[in-house]
């Protein structure tokens, strides 16, 4: 590339850059949060670990239809259907391996009874790997807010 020799100086660009630096010194643009005192504002569609919706009498809403293990792209849901004492189909075993999960949210989208939800929770640290396989009791005990499937202000995602 040909540069116009002798007609430009680095001085102007340097001053420009230094001005920006000093501006940030006196009026900082903060990106670091003072976690855990400060918490981030999550988007309505932000997806974290799952939560199972529960009926008023404490039973899971899940009817063990098998659509979430079918749609799950990472094959992280293990489901064994059975029949409860009232003759209703329910999950005898419902486990989600949160390590395998890719948090795509398709299980929530496919669920015909709105039982399984993605949740707005990110504090998932555990001491053992086994603890990351969430069973039905644990999924029902989760009480964090659930993810919205779409943004109510922008339903068509535009």
């Amino acid at each position: 590339m040909r540069r116009p020799e002798g007609t430009t100086s680095y001085l102007r660009a340097t001053l420009h850059g230094m001005a920006l630096t000093f501006r940030h010194l006196v009026r900082p643009h903060k990106v670091t949060l003072q976690y855990p005192e400060e918490r981030p504002q999550l988007a309505p569609r932000w997806r974290g670990t799952h939560r199972m919706a529960v009926h008023a009498d404490g039973r899971p809403k899940c009817v063990a239809c098998g659509l979430c293990p079918t749609i799950c792209p990472s094959n992280c849901i293990r489901l064994v259907p059975g029949e409860d004492d009232q003759g209703n189909r329910y999950p005898v075993v419902f486990e989600i391996d949160e390590f395998r999960c890719v948090f795509c949210g398709m299980c929530q989208e496919v669920c015909p009874v709105e039982a399984i939800h993605m949740g707005q929770d990110y504090e998932n640290a555990e001491y053992t790997r086994e603890r990351f396989i969430y069973d039905l009791d644990r999924l029902m005990a989760q009480d964090h807010p659930v993810t919205a499937l779409w943004d109510p202000d922008d339903p068509a995602s535009q």
Binding site: A64, V80, P81
Partner: protein
Amino acid sequence: MANPKEARDSAGPAPAGAATAAPPPPADTVSCTIDGVPVTVPKGTRIIEAAEIAGVGISHYCYHPGLSAPAMCRQCLVEVQGMPKLQPACVTTVADGQVVLTESDRSRAARESNLEFYLLNHPLDCPICDKAGECKLQDFTHAEGRSHGRSVEPKRVLNQDDFGGAVLYEGDRCILCTRCVRFMREVAGNDALCVVQRGHRSVIDTFFEQGLEGDLWASNIVDICPVGALLSKDFLHKARVWDLDKEPSICPNCSQGCNITIETRDNLVARLRPRANSDVNSYWMCDVGRYGYDWFNRGNVPTGTLGNADTIGGGPNPTGRVEQPMVRDRTGRLRAASWQEAVRALVERLTALRGRGGVALVSPMFANEDAGLAARLLEVLGGGERLYRSEMAAEEVVCPGFPRLARRRELAANGRGLSAMGFRRVGDDSGAGALDALDVTGKLLLVLGDDLADSGESFGAGAGLFVYLGAFPGAAERNADFILPVTYFSEQEGTFTNLEGRVQRFWPALEPPPLARPAWQVLGVVLAGLEDAPAPASAASAFLRLGQLHDAFGGLSYDQLGARGALLNDPVRLAADSRR
């Protein structure tokens, strides 16, 4: 899409199309056009069957090829040019020069509104319905129905009804096609079901307290129900049908040789369903065969899979399956060995026994290929007795509507095949006895598959060599010199010969334990060490070997058997069959 199973079905020397194209149509056929496809069929053929031949699918509920057609579901209405009203394709016979339009606006509109009527009272509980995925109402509505129903009336609600036996009835889902009623009347010969009430209150019901309990054929109504109204108690909530792996096979629970599909999930059998074969079982199978699958699962404990042994396949599996070849060493202890070691040692011991002969006791639950090579091994050693033991039922139960089908007295899958290879049935009707009378002193005792449950403490102790091929060591552990793990019929490819003498193929449906091998493979390798014959590399070549050894199997090959099977000693009939 290339489907290997379809390729198997059409396997045969002459493709079906070639035979129909060549000769000019005889006088008793008619030609018509269905959706622009010209088709020539015998006189009296119904439009729905002619359409099948023409490759045009006509949706239907009440019509079933194995039953009479009442033309009451109105789903198969098609336009026939020149006729003022739409015609039900399941009862209208084809006429010469007829032009049938299944995709005209009138036919389409009729189907769409028909489906809307069916959904007026249908609960749409597909997520919890066992039929979802193979439901005709679901399929056709998805293909041609309205996306939303317009009915604002409340739906009819009925309770679940226990029909007795293995069948449950969900009245809400029922579309009153009456296939089940007609099956019980026409095929099972037991008028146990009827439609009660009228109009939208109609339901299928049994007579008072008299249900389907004790009917040998009743579970077929679960298969033919086009929706999820009739449910199998055995399969209830067990698996979603799209999760099942399906493999064609032969029912081993009696010598009728019903064609079945083994449907498995996570290497456990979830259910058996009949496969159509007009020469053997039509579209049906008996309940004893249908629910007698627990023993296929023996030893296959799922580890680290999605399966749960307590709910899928019925009950926890007994363990103790032979995991690897066992050889008795000089100190008299059974020791695990590699296949190479075991076969080498076995060939050495067999060579020493040459000329002394022996006894072969083969379970009739094993394939023709397995038994044939066991017989050959005995022959190479100098001959001797070929025996099998099998269970016999007290009586034969014939299917009233299809007399060729029966629950046979001989309860072993392959008794006829063994007889054709010179095996003799010994023991009593419970499949026991006759072991103590065997004289094997100084000779080879070859046991294939028989569990020897009633054998004495010293059974086989005096034998020159006691070789046991099976899945469970059982009683053989006491005295056998070699215990070699072999696969079940459900884990390997092979053939059974049914009572009629029909040789039929089956395919592997389950994954065997890692070191188990088909018996024909083990025996083939051992034979290769004893005589100048290469070990068969596949079940197909083992079967060809069988044809060289036994005249009854001569002229048959896997390609000729296809998916329908062929009779022993009958290559002429075979050629005609494969062209049908």
